[in-house]
């Protein structure tokens, strides 16, 4: 169950980052033009989060089922972000931030016994 | 891929009856001509693929639906319905004849 939430939250955050990296959507959300540097950072963050979600999924469930899990939650997260965005933009961004932060925290607390 | 025939068709969209016949003809070509080419390609692949017999038969069947998709889309992008028809019929017939000629080779284990 935790794995599903982590997967959904990470994929959701990665879509949010990738979306905000697009000039048009950045303008919609923040009313300001996005700088090239900021756009590049957002995009990189988005792809890395997505990759991290896949690695976690495969690590936990094996390459075949893990990839299916990741792919399904990846699509659902995208639909969730795109649906939330026009109705509740602030909540959509807040969810991406909190979800991403919480799942990173959960991951670190999972891994810490093996790390230290 | 679709640019030229697309604009080509747009112009005709006003002459509705003719447009509808063109659609019907291409649809029939994609379904029946497409199935012929697909069937023939699966038959030929069952003969030529470098694997054991059961693997050849299954792989050919798995690939056949990809072939059908590609062929059907090509028909709708082809310059004319007529051109789509004869290309499919010739390609299908050639592959089928080849497969039937080497049928015994296709039955190797």
């Amino acid at each position: 169950m935790t794995l599903w939430l982590i997967l959904l939250a990470l994929n959701y955050s990665s879509w949010a980052l990738l979306c905000l990296a697009v000039a048009r959507h950045h303008r919609q959300h923040f009313g300001a033009e996005v700088s090239v540097r900021r756009s590049r950072l957002l995009r990189l963050g988005g792809w890395l989060t997505m990759l991290a979600a896949w690695v976690i999924s495969v690590h936990w469930r094996g390459w075949d089922i893990g990839s299916v899990d990741w792919c399904a939650s990846w699509m659902l997260a995208a639909i969730a972000w795109v649906l939330l965005q026009p109705y509740r933009p602030r909540f959509a961004r807040w969810l991406a931030f909190v979800g991403g932060a919480a799942s990173l925290f959960a991951l670190i607390s999972f891994l810490s016994p093996t790390l230290f | 891929m679709s640019e030229i025939p697309h604009s080509h068709l747009k112009r005709r969209q006003s002459t509705t009856a003719r447009f509808r016949w063109a659609v019907a003809s291409r649809t029939a070509a994609a379904l029946f001509g497409g199935y012929l080419v697909t069937y023939a390609s699966a038959a030929l692949l069952t003969v030529v693929l470098p694997m054991s017999r059961i693997n050849r038969a299954v792989t050919a069947s798995l690939l056949s639906f990809v072939v059908w998709t590609a062929v059907a889309i090509w028909v709708f992008a082809a310059r004319s319905a007529w051109r789509g028809w004869w290309t499919l019929l010739v390609a299908g017939a050639v592959m089928l004849v080849l497969a039937m000629t080497w049928r015994d080779y296709g039955m190797r284990p």
Binding site: M1, W4, W15, C19, V22, H25, Q28, G31, R61, G62, D64, I65, V68, D69, C71, A72, S73, M75, L76, I79, W81, V82, L83, Q85, P86, Y87, R88, P89 | S2, P5, H6, V23, R26, T27, A30, Y39, A40, A42, A43, T46, V47, R53, I54, N55, R56, A57, V58, T59, A60, S61, L62, S64, F65, T69, A72, I73, A77, A99, G106, M107
Partner: protein
């Protein structure tokens, strides 16, 4: 190619909608099976009566050579018996796992599964579904090629734009974001039945000998007949127990071959729920004394690929969570198809209004409502019929199915009659919502020991899940009905986002092709 995408249009969308909704519900076919068989609820703990079940099955099909028994699983506690005899209807019965007796019949969640692969129309239905699946594959690939622009508008959804624009956004949203799923489902869907649709491999490689082809696929050699009766028959209970030990996990089926011959052989196929491609290990036992003979070889590599692809489609792996994801993505597919028909209809609205009422456009609109709002209503009616029909009725299963069709027909008539005066969308969605929300109540009244409350107390999460899902879906349909009561242009909630996308919408050239 835009016309290929549009042409694969209305009627195919309706057929595909029925297939998609059936498939989405069939994600939980076994859970629905269980819900629809109250005789299985609150079973006393005890051993699994595989031998008694085999006896029942043998009495039902005295001449069958091969019997299949599916032992109880976490999703469905019944023993399922299957017999496939050429020229006779397939036997598929649920048996009581404690004494092997038959359970009062029901179509079960299996109804939706059959609807999904042949529209309840036998072999012609299998071909029709295959054709629809192929057309979906074509619509998806041509959709990607002609709508390359939608990838640029990946994150765009403008509900406030209203009318066709919003429907098209909704179609693109569910179509593009769910694209990997839809492509996979369409391709693996036609693949599953490939030996029916594409016979070239068998014709050329095996001279059309289907039996030889299947024999090559299954790596288990068939036993040689000895033409005398078996001296004794081994205990299936013991064999199942041994197989579970050796496999280190559950068995999916026991196959009993040569039932009436001394060469009787029993094999146990691993469930393999931890692999997408499903079980690969197959244990073989002697059917007379039950000793373990050995394990069959792995299936051929290409066939393993086939099993992987069909496994992706049938989601028997990875537990309930992945089935929920498929359920949600299947719902997204239903929305993609429903919005597609809506775009198709709105595009033609002006033309049809000019042509007047006799253009048949009204009928098309009514039929669209009948398919998209009527089928969910009929599906819930099936569950109601299951609880309302008396349990000892011999023809119960067929009455359940007929109530599904009857309600769908009534919904169609309703949509036709109410199209001009009433609001058939809202009314049918509202009825579906009411039936769904009242389903746990009906369940509690007719089967008090299976009620939502009782199943939560018993920790029976499968049973509680069906009732809880009915409540959640009921709220969803109530929301849909409520959406249809409001005038469409007043959806704007967030002024800033709305203004920004409205202006960018105006600046863009209108998309012509849908």
């Amino acid at each position: 190619m835009a016309w290929l995408h549009t042409w694969a249009g209305l009627i195919v969308s309706w057929v595909l909608f029925a297939i998609f909704l059936g498939g989405t519900l069939a994600c939980f076919d076994k859970e629905l099976d269980y819900w629809m068989r109250p005789a299985l609820h609150q079973l006393a703990p005890g051993p699994i009566a595989m031998d008694a079940a085999a006896t029942t099955l043998r009495e039902m099909a005295p001449h069958a050579e091969t019997l299949y028994l599916r032992p109880p699983s976490a999703r469905d506690p019944s023993i399922h018996g299957f017999v496939f005899e050429p020229g006779k209807p397939t036997i598929d019965v649920a048996l009581n796992p404690r004494d092997g007796t038959r359970i009062p019949p029901t179509v079960g969640g299996n109804f939706f599964f059959v609807l999904h692969y042949n529209l309840q129309a036998g072999t012609p239905g299998v071909y029709l579904v295959g054709l629809a699946g192929m057309l979906m594959l074509l619509a998806l690939v041509s959709g990607v090629i002609i709508h390359r622009r939608v990838f640029k508008d990946f994150f765009v959804f403008r509900p406030q734009a209203g009318g066709q624009r919003a429907w098209l956004d909704g179609h693109n949203l569910t179509g593009v974001l769910g694209l990997p799923f839809h492509l996979m489902i369409a391709y693996t869907g036609v693949i599953i039945m490939m030996s029916t649709y594409m016979t070239a491999g068998v014709q050329i490689g095996y001279h059309g000998d289907l039996a030889a082809y299947y024999a090559a696929l299954s790596s288990t050699p068939h036993p040689v007949e000895q033409h005398r009766l078996p001296s004794r028959v081994a205990s299936l209970n013991k064999i199942l127990h041994d197989a579970v030990q050796r496999l280190g996990g559950p068995a999916q089926y026991l196959e009993i071959e040569h039932v009436h011959d001394a060469s009787i052989t029993i094999s146990a196929l691993a469930a393999g729920n931890d692999e997408v491609a499903g079980g690969r290990r197959n244990l073989i036992y002697d059917g007379t004394d039950g000793h373990f003979r050995g394990e069959s070889e792995s299936p051929p590599a290409a066939y393993r690929t086939y099993q992987f692809l069909s496994g992706l489609h049938r989601v028997q792996f990875g537990g309930a969570a992945i089935r929920w994801l498929y359920f949600l993505l299947g719902t997204a597919g239903c929305v993609m198809l429903a919005t597609a028909t809506q775009v198709w209809i709105e595009k033609r609205q002006r033309k049809a209004e000019a042509a007047g009422l006799r253009s048949g456009y009204g009928l098309v609109r009514a039929l669209n409502i009948a398919v998209i709002a009527g089928m969910p209503l009929a599906s819930v009616a099936l569950l109601w019929a299951n609880r309302l029909l008396p349990g000892n009725l011999a023809v119960r299963a067929s009455w359940e199915a007929q109530s599904f069709y009857a309600v769908w027909l009534l919904a169609t008539i309703w949509a036709v009659l109410r199209l001009r005066r009433g609001k058939p969308w809202r009314e049918l969605f509202g009825m579906t919502a009411a039936l769904l929300l009242a389903l746990p109540l009906l369940n509690a009244l007719t089967e008090p020991r299976s009620s939502l409350l009782a199943s939560i107390v018993d920790h029976d999460w499968v049973l509680a899940g069906v009732d809880a899902t009915a409540l959640a879906l009921g709220l969803g349909f109530a929301w849909l009905a409520w959406l249809n009561t409001r005038p469409r242009k007043n959806v704007r909630r967030d002024a800033r986002i709305g203004a920004a996308s409205a202006s960018s919408h105006a600046a863009r050239p209108r998309e012509k092709s849908a």
